[in-house]
Amino acid sequence: MHVVYPAVVAALLFSVGIYGVLARRNAILVLMSVVLMLSAVNLNLVAFDVWLRDRLHGGQALALFTIVIAAAEAGLGLAIALLVFRTRRTIDVDALNSLREDHEPAAAAEPAETEPPVQAEPVQPAEAGAEGGLETPSAERGTQ
């Protein structure tokens, strides 16, 4: 078998992964694309290990290590994605722009997305309690 075939397949897989990382908006899809890129590297490692007929089988051992590192990366990445989802209510990577340099559009767009779920909920029961008497908030707390 010519070395060109696995190398070209790996190069195409890597480019597909690059497209996914750049074009996708959901953080989990970005993780999937990163995993695709790591798989492309694995294919190269295995192919060149078989080609060079390494006595220590360094390529295949390194491919195994890469698989393990990809598993660790997927676990940690998903934990981070869950944490982001828990605090921001979204894992849209385009919306996570609070560290951006120019604050004009970010400051205008960000409170509209992140603040209402945090602030609107505590304000609503307080108004209801102020207008409707003391029974309704205590009843709500009893159900909680």
Binding site: M1, H2, V3, V4, Y5, P6, A7, V8, V9, A11, L12, L13, F14, V16, G17, I18, Y19, A23, R24, R25, N26, L29, L31, M32, L36, S39, N42, L43, V46, D49, V50, H57, G58, Q60, A61, A63, L64, F65, I67, V68, I69, A72, E73, A74, G75, L76, L78, A79, L82, L83, F85, R86, I91, V93, D94, P122, P125, A126, P137, R141
Partner: protein, 184 residues
């Protein structure tokens, strides 16, 4: 073109085609399922390249563990099930240009560099016995370091995803303050 090359090319077409579907499909769960197909094709490519142990490790870890983990992540983040047009960001065409340029450069370089290289496939190059003795003789130290790294990553993931570890977040304390004020 030998039979091995034909089989490898078919598997490569399946792998790259399903990878393209992973990054272009409009349904999030389908992306994870196409990822299974892509990893399966990749495992078949490893088998054609006589790397049996890596192929089965790929099936066990990627198809068995990583994709299930990704599906759990999709469910836990309440992702939209079904078609949704919000999965692609606005810079899709820039991403397409970058990916095409990368593919062009890489394929050109690889084809020009390895045009004449021939890879003799011989059975038995990657069995569990060969790879196991290689890993536990020549690569013991990286193996042990990697196991420690995996343990650290798992503990880190647990600490990150538990809510009762570490400093309290501002959100629950805000709730507490509000309720305390209401009580007062």
């Amino acid at each position: 073109m030998t039979a091995q090359e034909i089989v490898f090319l078919l598997l490569g077409v399946v792998t790259v085609g399903s990878a393209v579907l992973v990054v272009t499909t409009r349904q999030l769960v389908h992306a994870a399922l196409w990822l299974v197909v892509s990893f399966g094709g990749l495992a078949g490519s490893y088998l054609v390249l006589t790397a049996e142990f890596v192929a089965w490790a790929q099936v066990l870890i990627y198809v068995g563990a990583v994709v299930v983990l990704l599906l759990f992540g999709i469910m836990l983040t309440r992702a939209p099930i079904g078609r949704s047009d919000a999965l692609d960001s606005g810079n899709r065409w820039a991403a397409l240009a970058v990916a095409t340029a990368t593919a062009g450069v890489l394929v050109t370089v690889v084809v020009r560099g390895f045009k004449d290289a021939y890879l003799p496939l011989r059975a038995g190059g990657g069995t569990a016995g060969v790879i196991g003795s290689s890993v536990f003789r020549a690569w013991v130290l990286p193996f042990e370091v990697l196991s420690v790294l995996l343990l650290a990553a798992l503990i880190g993931a647990i600490v990150l995803s538990r809510t009762d570890v570490g400093p309290q977040r501002p959100e629950p304390s805000d709730d507490h303050d509000d309720q305390g004020r209401e009580d007062a």
